[in-house]
Every structure is written in C-alpha cells, then in structure tokens.
Symmetry: C2
Subunit: 201 residues, 2 copies
C-alpha cells in the first residue's frame, strides 16, 4: 500500500465536485487511499486577493461552458446550482466532526451526498439545514449534528485544516498532494494517474 492521496476541495467548487466523482476510481486502480480534506476557497481568495472563477469576466462564462463539457465527457450529472457559489463552513465542520467520530468512510459518504445534492439536485450546500439533513439521511442524529456545528473544538478543527492547507500552498479545488507532489485541478488527474503508475518522472 502506497502513501495516501491528499484530496483538497471546497463543497462549493464545481471542479472539486467533478474531481470527487473520479478520485476514488483513480485511487482504487493504484490500490491507494484518499484522504478527503474539505477546506475553504474563501480563505484562498482572501490570501491571494482573488475571487471565484465563475464571477470573473470572460473566464467565468468560459468555465461555465467548460464545466458542462467536462461533466458530459466523464458522464457525470452536473447542474450549476443557484445560489452559487456559497460559503461552506458548516459543511466543512460537519465533515471533520463525522470523520473524527464516525470514521472516514462515513465522512466520505457525507461529502458525496452533499456534493451530489448541490450539483445535481440544487440543494444548497451552504445552508446549515441542508448540511444537517444530509448527515441525518446517513443515520446521524440531527440535534447532535446541529450541536457539533456550534462546538468550539469543531470550529477550531476546520480552521486548523484550512490554515494547514494554505500553509502547504494549496490554492484551488480539486488540489491533490501525493508525497512531495502537488497537482492542481481535474486537469492534473491524468498526471496523478501516471505518477501513481510510474512512481514519478
């Protein structure tokens, strides 16, 4: 078993969503684990003085088209949600709380459910109620989830993750780290695939 792939994403990122639909198969092919690590692109935008791709002139409309084309190519259901983008602090807190208390498998199920809810069924991933309902649908107690989202230790847990990602130089979604190698974007999943296959070049 090789070292794990660190998979950084924001629940509001459509490219992150597309990556989430392909990373497990890629990792499985190489008998490799994936650490799912939601973080907050808002912190990146603040650090770099940038903003969401979709609201940029020219690049925004292009990315809208590119997302649809990419989704069709990989046969991934995808709709641009409304509202979009959204803040995903509650989603991130819920994820790490689930991971720490129920294990990474359930946390990943939650991430998939929240991502698909947002980018297929237009269920607002930025809405605390949607986050709680998504966890509840996986068998969690809604009151316990709601309490966790207000827990200072959980708040600090997400903040530490976000700070840690930024410290490592993570700046987009999806963003992968494998050993010393950093790979940004769905566009680099082919490099990641080849890196895992060959051991690097």
């Amino acid at each position: 078993m090789s070292q794990p792939i660190e998979f950084y994403f924001d629940f509001s990122s459509p490219y992150g969503y597309l990556g989430s639909q392909r990373i497990d198969a890629l990792a499985e092919k190489h008998n490799c684990e994936v650490n799912w690590r939601p973080y907050l692109l808002g912190a990146v935008f603040k650090k770099l003085g940038t903003g969401p791709l979709i609201s940029q002139p020219v690049k925004g409309p292009y990315s809208h088209h590119d997302l649809q084309r990419s989704a069709r190519l990989y046969d991934i259901s995808f709709n641009v949600p409304d509202p979009f983008p959204v803040h995903t602090v509650a989603a991130g807190r819920a994820f790490y709380w689930l991971q720490d208390n129920e294990g990474p498998a359930l946390a990943k199920q939650f991430a998939h459910a929240l991502y698909r809810g947002y980018f297929i069924d237009n269920r607002n991933a930025g809405d605390t109620e949607v986050v709680i309902e998504t966890a509840a649908a996986l068998g969690l107690d809604p009151a316990a989830v709601a309490a966790a989202l207000q827990d200072d230790a959980i708040k600090a847990r997400l903040k530490t993750e976000v700070d840690g990602a930024l410290d490592k130089g993570v700046f987009g979604a999806p963003f992968f780290i494998y050993g010393d190698e950093q790979l940004w974007g769905c566009d680099r999943m082919d490099h990641l695939d080849k890196w895992l296959e060959t051991g690097g070049w």
Copy 2:
C-alpha cells in the same frame, strides 16, 4: 478535410510553447489544419485586470513546477528563460508579415524557431534583434524584416489579430477554437483530440 483548429498563443507563454510542440501531431492525426495565431497576452491582462501567472503568489511557484513536470511528461526540452515574461509585439508583427508574404508554412517554422530559441536556448523572444535573426536564419533578408517591423500596415495587422482574439473571448495561451468550441490550455488538448475524433459530445 475538416475545418481548421485556430491556435492562439503568445510567444512569451511557456504553456503556449508546450502546446506548440504538440498541436501539429494532434492535428495531423485527424487530418486537420492548424491556423497559428500569435497574439498578445498583455492585451488580455489589460482587459481583465490580471497579470502573468508566474508573478502571482503561490500560483506562480506552482506553475513553475507544473511546467517542468509537464515538459518532462511530454519529453519537451524546456527551461524558464531570463528575462521572463517579455513583450512579443515584434515577434507577432514578424509572424504575420511572414505569413502574408511567404506563406503559413514558413511563418510556422519561424514560430517554432522563436519559441524553441526562447524556451530552450534562452534567446529573448521579446528582443527585436532576436526576432530579426530568427527570420534571417530561415533565409529572410534582415533589412526587409527590420523594415516590416516598423511598417504601419504590419502594426495594424497585429492589432487587428489581437483585437479579434479578444472579441472572440480568447484569454489565455494556448487557446484553441474549433468551430464553435473554445478550449483553454494544454490541459484541454485531450478534449480537443477527443472532439476531433468523435465530432463532439
């Protein structure tokens, strides 16, 4: 014979250079022509209020690493030149003058020579003397090239190309247009390849 691929690039763009080393083989595979269309990323940066990738914090160092990794993957000789980036107005003017007077085949030879000179041998593609020498090495009269670079009609020719690219929504390098389809980056050459193969999806 299908419609041509419009291949937009800036002589100062390293990703444009990497694209230039792969686009002919891709097009040939599909029996497709390529229209090489140098333009000026500086005009894009001015329009969008952005700047060169390499000078952006975090993304700049990442792109430096990514360029080297991409070049090695495709077995393309590549060095980050110094100075970098540079203004490529003279190079663009020379290209269109060559294309209009000597034909697209020689213009493409010139483009390859200038790109390789810059990204392999550190010959400054932004330097008018280097532009003239590069054309001279292909058999052109240096005095005629030098005169062309100051010709108002050639100046206007490049400006029209740049304006036309911006009007179409071109914003990066390499940037491809095939029919109604726009594809940004070396990252989308796999989409372009598949699009040519399948007729789109």
